[in-house]
Symmetry: D2
Subunit: 377 residues, 4 copies
């Protein structure tokens, strides 16, 4: 199938999330990066484009240049979709221009700075024949999708309680002067990041996960937020009580200063008949617990899963999806050797490992044949 041509706003050298978007596009294998405005510094942006093999004429200085340049191309060559991976305050104006000019949009979260902006984008998408995707990445996990399916199938009975957690610790290091991450700069500045740090950056992932898996809509919230350090203007930590239409209680707990936590996002949905629990740091395990049956653990790559979960998974059972990155590391090591950058036998198995392996297999078979005696390798 022909690949979808796409571009990127932001995401140049050193940008973690732009890199993540490009990797995602390569893993699913449906996209080809053909251009972008990768950096506010145009020279750096061009340099980055070159490093990715982008044609110089499709490295643009601004979103306006990009739109003009692409629209000038024959439709068949033109960028169809654009990923927005800039700081938060630029999401809205860029997305708006893209939608109005007929580009599909893949936007980092949070979607915008204000509710009104978000609603305007939603209205505009409704008027234009384009697809708008927001990268709440966690809903891409196979077992999150299985959770959604089990709940839709009524396995839990009536939902009674929902408990969501997203704990990180990294800003803790920043505010206590142990670290000075570049990414910390705009994230703690309301003008660039929005009205909230902890809830805006990660709490909202929990919220999205909750509405995604349960199909329920939160109606009312009561929150208690904490900026922890006087010098910080935004919340770094907080708890939100939730009410739904029905008599269901929920809570989202979130923190960026929970020292030692990495990306501890987890959700538990408790029903009258059974409950489901999932956690991001061990994403291949979905737990179904009940008062009457042994706990069941769902894992990817089994026929007992629903279609949505199984179509989201390509590995055989027991191989965590991260195996592909391990595999990629092997390919990387070989690439470094081919390019004569470094030849490091710790970075990929070589012909010598092959000889060792063949000896192992053959000697083992020989020992077994010879009545289980010792055979030298």
């Amino acid at each position: 199938m022909e690949k979808i041509k796409f571009g990127m706003i932001g995401g140049g050298f050193g940008a973690f999330i732009g890199d993540a978007h490009r990797r995602a596009s390569r893993i699913c294998n449906d996209y080809q990066l053909v251009g972008g405005a990768f950096d506010v510094d145009f020279d750096k942006g061009k340099e980055f484009g070159a490093s990715e093999g982008i044609a110089p004429n499709r490295c643009y200085a601004t979103i306006d240049d990009l739109i003009a340049g692409e629209l000038a191309l024959p439709e068949n060559d033109r960028m169809e979709a654009v990923s927005i991976v800039t700081p938060n305050y630029l999401h809205f104006p860029i997305a708006k221009k893209l939608i109005l000019n007929g580009f599909h949009v893949i936007c980092e979260k949070p979607m915008t700075m204000t509710v009104e902006e978000a609603e305007e984008l939603e209205m505009l998408v409704g008027k234009h024949d384009i697809t708008f995707g927001l990268t709440h990445t966690y809903t891409g996990y196979p077992m999150v999708r299985q959770m959604k399916e089990l709940i839709k199938d009524g396995v839990l009975g009536n939902i009674q309680r929902i408990d969501v957690q997203y704990y990180q610790g990294w800003i803790n290091s920043v505010i206590h002067g142990r670290e000075n991450r570049i990414t910390g700069i705009w994230r703690l500045d309301p003008a660039h990041s929005g009205v909230s740090s902890c809830m805006g950056d990660i709490g909202v992932h929990g919220f999205n996960l909750l509405e995604y898996t349960t199909g329920l809509e939160v109606k009312t919230v009561l929150s208690d937020l904490n900026n922890v350090n006087e010098s910080v203007e935004m919340d770094l930590d907080g708890t939100v009580l939730l009410r739904f239409n029905e008599n269901i209680r929920g809570v989202i707990r979130s923190s960026q200063v929970a020292a030692g936590e990495e990306n501890n996002l987890r959700i538990a949905v408790y029903g009258s008949e059974a409950s489901l629990k999932w956690e991001q740091e061990n994403p291949n395990y979905l737990y179904l617990i009940s008062d009457t049956e042994p706990t069941k653990i769902y894992k990817p790559a089994h026929p007992y899963n629903g279609e949505l979960a199984e179509s989201s998974h390509v590995m055989p059972a027991g191989h965590p999806e991260g195996l592909y990155e391990a595999f990629g590391n092997i390919y990387k090591g070989i690439a470094k050797a081919i390019r004569k950058e470094t030849y490091n036998s710790a970075e990929f198995p070589t012909e010598h490992d092959g000889v060792r392996g063949m000896k192992f297999v053959h000697r083992v078979v020989q020992s077994n044949k010879e009545n289980n005696t010792w055979v030298d390798l």
Copy 2:
């Protein structure tokens, strides 16, 4: 940096391991697939090549055609490396031809059918200026590499015992008539697969992992293999006792009929001072245990790891590498919508999720400002 042009022998439609190689090449982003002989059925091979966007003239019928065709191209356009993802018995003849013609080789394991073939390849690689990589994938995991580094640093003292396990259950289903996997056909046929099934296919991964992480060489083996079912000619299960130069004892336990096991590869290396344990199904956790200190868990993406481990990891702490596949699933869902195949809001978050998220963040901040009162969403 310019990508390495590579080709592939085997790996057409329905081939799991060929797909894995291509994904690995895209994840590390150092390769471009430019051609191949993807299928013994040339028509199918051409069709597959087209689906991957390969130029028709670089879809070859045989390895000989591929070598001839590529050598006829200007050096700058030519394939530099070739991945061999055929059944085992073809690894040797294909690899030999490629080496003799100056191509870098990326070869699936086991390297060959016999020890002699493997030694011949090793000798040939030594004579030609090429890189030979064997895809013992598991050594690409960051925490396996950290394990290697910690052992090299002497953290364990003198190694006293090594215990390796690789348990799968899938052939169990095949031999008891519950399933008839295509892949089972050549794997259980010695003419195509080699002298051993269980040890040749997975036991050898354990062996490689052991030699990789410890830097030790196995000297002698004593094995007890089991074909379980009379109709099967090869071992499906077995235990191998190991001796090393020093007074170290080791054991490799492996099975393809351990019902319910998925890819339960694990290694424990016990030293006089401390020990290390790792398991493939939860690859981000490396356990250092000792008689005198609290157990330590090493995880990727921390400065306390060595350089080899850290350079093998691109995600922030707490994001299992599989996050990229989750991310890829989101991109895939968007691609399906862009292509108007399906529009499924369960497959990617849309603008509506964006509006919901913005409401959540703003209402939460409002509730906090208004002395922790309820605010409608």
Copy 3:
């Protein structure tokens, strides 16, 4: 050392918590049960006393009889302490009488029905030379005590967030008509149980654990409770936001209708330097996490623990405390055989197991001596 003579109010046939108190007293081996008023039905109480080997004259009908009877005995024979294991509403009047008459009191929680009653008891204890113990059992775990010590030693820096959870599911079964536990009767009746079910019965354990481990005092609370089912007068589920003197945020989440949860009590204390996490269902693991070091797991029976933790533990490392119950089961099986009730070789290993074991050991040594050959058992 001479044992402390103690009595019991409540705890007759079928009473789970009375049995737990008696087991606790036997495990620590400092007590001897000498009498009690075991049941509101005096006949049943006497029968129960007999079954425990209690002298008939020390089986009393009421707390008043018990006090009068014991005070009439020589001081050396007299009950020194009394355990109160009645429904909640009787704790206060019984405890008060015992204190006023100079008995030490071991009281189930909650201490009383009202704050005023609790304060009155506290005042009375202050005036009398007696010990009052309240059985918040979870603070007896070695790793909870180690947690307290590590926090006192300042390992966490400044505490920033405290997150406590106590989830059970059992009342869920009761309110949805799947079960009709006897113990449910008085627990859901405010007149016998008090002002709260979920918070009063289990939330308060979380609260106690929090104040115990951190040494902090909660200053203010904001709660959202849920009775789930209209027919229930009391809360069965709820979330409580906590404020402390300092700028610390905390939350207690608790439920008795979290289907499938057993006794999932857990606590996480997050500090500026590091954090500690513990969970009751796996009580031998205490996790110290930080942004800069590998996670550390503290376990009982190691010199790295503090004195309070180590003095609370009697097993060698790696034996969960439950080993004693396993051991007790073996003794129980032997007792049934001795008494000729049943002789069940599944309930204890016999002389035949001994012969098998000796053969195993000797044949294994023989095989090793004979150059690793097979030896029949």
Copy 4:
């Protein structure tokens, strides 16, 4: 029910295993310790007896004195059973005398020093109307018993492979001079301990667990043992290959020098239909895995368990059995306060904790009633 009067040979001051036997007897509540020969040093033995409240005339110097003394007592007062907790070489002569004189015997493992001795005891037990119990403690765990029942019920289909592990690290410390445990002295001396250290002391537990849970009998063994350190006469580490009547393969791996391991006993039984896995360090979890169904976790205290498992458990679901020891610690703290040894509020919750708890519960209910507002504690 009347308690069984029992005595003890060995188990005086500082003896870990004697203490474990006494605790087991108190937990199951079927025994009363009435006498013993607690120490080879008679004075110390008498002192120990006094500390346990044993009448002086029932503290004996030798097994012969004990037998004579007890037989001289009226049958109703007489010791019925005797626990043998001496070093291994004394098990046989003492057990033999006890059996010949009609006492029930509870014997530590290994049963004897030689196979012949064990068989002689088995023969003697057959001739006398007594019960002989051998304390392979691990078969007392509820989930081990559930495992036995599930296997007997045929849940696994035909067993194909059995994998048992018992790894400890403590002798590692001893042989590398980091520690000098008293218990190490006789354990590493063949004259007192027997023909094997690692296999005799712990490997045999794995063997017993295997035969207990599967109901199978090992027919032939092939072993590879390691004494690790030249100065040690006995095996400290080893692997044993197992053959059964049927075409089943098994392996027992065991070590006392696996640095950092505590009591890592685990068993996996693989069948044609499904498999079961259990590990001693987390004894409340029994895993049933299969190729077709989600993994099931069995836990104690649920009606889905069989009768043997459920009758071996007294706690409500989710309370690990170790809760009793936690409870015992609370009772111990209260005992120390009653005896005015120490008054340590870290060792038991006091009336002050009760007041705090009541405030918590009442203020929480108040906040909820007042529309979720803050209420001071």
